[in-house]
């Protein structure tokens, strides 16, 4: 069902947790299956220095959350905004078709967090 990489990120998720004094926080809920993903950012000089997540969701939801934190860290805000759901799925070696909506969640959560950061720093 899931690739080895999905299972690895599911079992050993990277960057789980919260950042107390986060510069941006984004939460998205998947109305479809009721899952929730929250991402915390620490930004310095427009670069994502630290990123953490919490997710209520399936294996794919947790794995996509985990992998997007790896993909986003050390990227500039603009680079991070360019990350797509498709890239997230590809990074994991693919997701089962029925799970594609879970990967939507990860990129959306990151975007929401970045938008929150931008708003806070206007």
């Amino acid at each position: 069902m899931y690739t080895e990489k999905v299972m690895d990120h599911f079992q050993n998720p990277r960057n789980v947790g919260e950042i107390e004094d986060a510069d941006g926080v984004g939460e998205v809920g998947n109305v479809k299956c009721g899952d929730i993903m929250r991402i915390y950012l620490k930004v310095e000089d427009n670069v994502i220095k630290d990123i953490k997540f919490r997710t209520f969701g399936c294996g794919a939801a947790i794995a996509t959350s985990s992998v997007i934190t790896e993909m986003a860290v050390d990227k500039t805000i603009d680079e991070a905004l360019e990350l797509t759901n498709k890239q997230v799925a590809e990074e994991l070696g693919g997701l089962p078709p029925v799970k594609m909506h879970c990967s939507n969640l990860a990129a959306d959560a990151l975007k929401t967090a970045i938008e929150d950061y931008k708003k806070n720093n206007k």
Binding site: V16, I36, R38, R54, F56, G57, C58, G59, A61
Partner: protein
């Protein structure tokens, strides 16, 4: 790694003594039971014997009341579509419940699309239907009540005997899906008072791909498939002989295993007790009227599939009513109709015990589940706020 299989409601391991009775039919006894010659006639005898075994196991009056099918799903389809087609002159109303297995649920939906009127009885918080609601649903058009004996997700047992009394008063056929109950609690077609009853091989330590529909003599039922004269022309096709023989033996063993189930029930109770020690965990289904093998709990703040996968990595096979496990968008219709919130239904965990489940298995699960739950909760944005 230790492996603990606690998903017996999904399927059971084949009992070795059932495999033993099947093997000759994969070897020397390969004839087609419809053949006139001795290769066929020998095999026919064993098909007849299996029919008798199944009939006796559910206390049917006549062997010919047993129709072998390719499984529980086909038997449910045959019962519901077959009665609907046979009685379409009489009426077009069918009563079922909102917590049926998909084999019945979707079949009733298909009939609804064809213009039949389908009433789906609601259930209470424990998953039990309301007899008064049933009574008031009955109309002169009602031709069939189809109601599962025990639920596959939460193990809740429905009051079939009482439903039967009501059905008889109104001269309405009653079908029950006994796929989950058979072999766990008494299943006796006369005591239950049903006209049609479904069983499936692979839920009673028999083979997959074989099941049977009990059809009380005189019950009007139209065949769905056409072809040879097998199964009284109700269900044509060369018989799955090994499967049938396996089902015969499995049914015999199932009807003798109700005692054994008391032992399983003790382990189940210990498992439930242990799980309920965790915070924010509650039991789904009926506290007493439930199958002796069924544990179903909702664990707040976490999602079922993540839990199942984590358990799997510890060697524990379990199941969940989470939408994510099924690939559908909504969590279990059973849990939702019992009034659980979307989120609580998402966090459901079903552990179903079997005859081979040991006390060590229970200990192992009770050791691992809390650790996994803690890990997942720590990852959850819903927890600890």
């Amino acid at each position: 790694m230790k492996r603990v299989y606690l998903d017996h409601a999904a399927t059971t391991p084949l009992h070795p003594s059932i495999l033993d009775v099947m093997l000759p039919f994969y070897k020397e006894l390969f004839g087609n039971p419809s053949s006139v010659h001795s290769f066929g006639r020998e095999v026919k005898k064993h098909v007849d014997k299996a029919r008798k075994q199944v009939a006796e196991s559910i206390n049917a009056d006549l062997d010919e009341e047993i129709i072998f099918t390719s499984g529980g799903t086909e038997a449910d389809n045959l019962a519901i579509l077959g009665v609907a087609a046979a009685l379409k002159e009489k009426g077009n109303h069918i009563i079922t419940s909102s917590v049926e297995h998909h084999a019945s649920l979707d079949t009733c939906d298909a009939l609804a699309k064809e213009g039949y009127r389908v009433t789906r009885l609601s259930v209470d918080e424990h998953g039990v239907i309301d007899l008064e609601e049933l009574k008031s649903a009955i109309s002169k058009d009602t031709i069939l009540i189809t109601l599962m004996h025990a639920n596959n997700e939460v193990g809740t047992v429905q009051p079939i005997e009482k439903v039967s009394k009501i059905a008889k008063e109104h001269d309405i056929y009653l079908h029950t899906d006994a796929v989950q109950s058979f072999g766990q609690i008494p299943v006796d077609v006369n005591q239950l008072g049903v006209d049609l009853l479904t069983i499936s091989g692979h839920k009673i330590y028999g083979p997959k791909g074989i099941g049977a529909l009990y059809v009380r003599k005189g019950t009007k039922l139209k065949n769905l498939a056409h072809g040879g004269g097998q199964e009284n022309k109700i269900r044509p096709g060369t018989e799955n002989v090994a499967g049938i023989v396996g089902l015969g033996k499995a049914a015999e063993m199932a009807s003798n295993s109700v005692d054994e189930m008391q032992e399983v029930e003790k382990k189940r109770d210990r498992l439930i007790e242990g799980l309920l020690k965790m915070d924010d965990v509650k039991l789904n289904g009926h506290p007493e009227k439930r199958l002796p093998t069924n544990v179903n709990v909702s664990i707040e703040y976490i999602e079922g599939e993540a839990l199942i996968l984590s358990l799997d990595m510890e060697g524990i096979a379990a199941s969940s009513g989470s939408a994510c496990t099924s690939g559908s968008l909504d969590p279990s219709h059973v849990l939702m109709h019992m009034g659980l919130s979307h989120q609580t239904a998402h966090g459901s965990l079903r552990l179903t015990l079997g005859k081979g489940t040991t006390d060590e298995d229970i200990d192992y699960v009770l050791d691992r589940v809390p650790k996994i739950v803690e890990r997942l909760r720590n990852m959850s944005p819903l927890y600890g706020k």
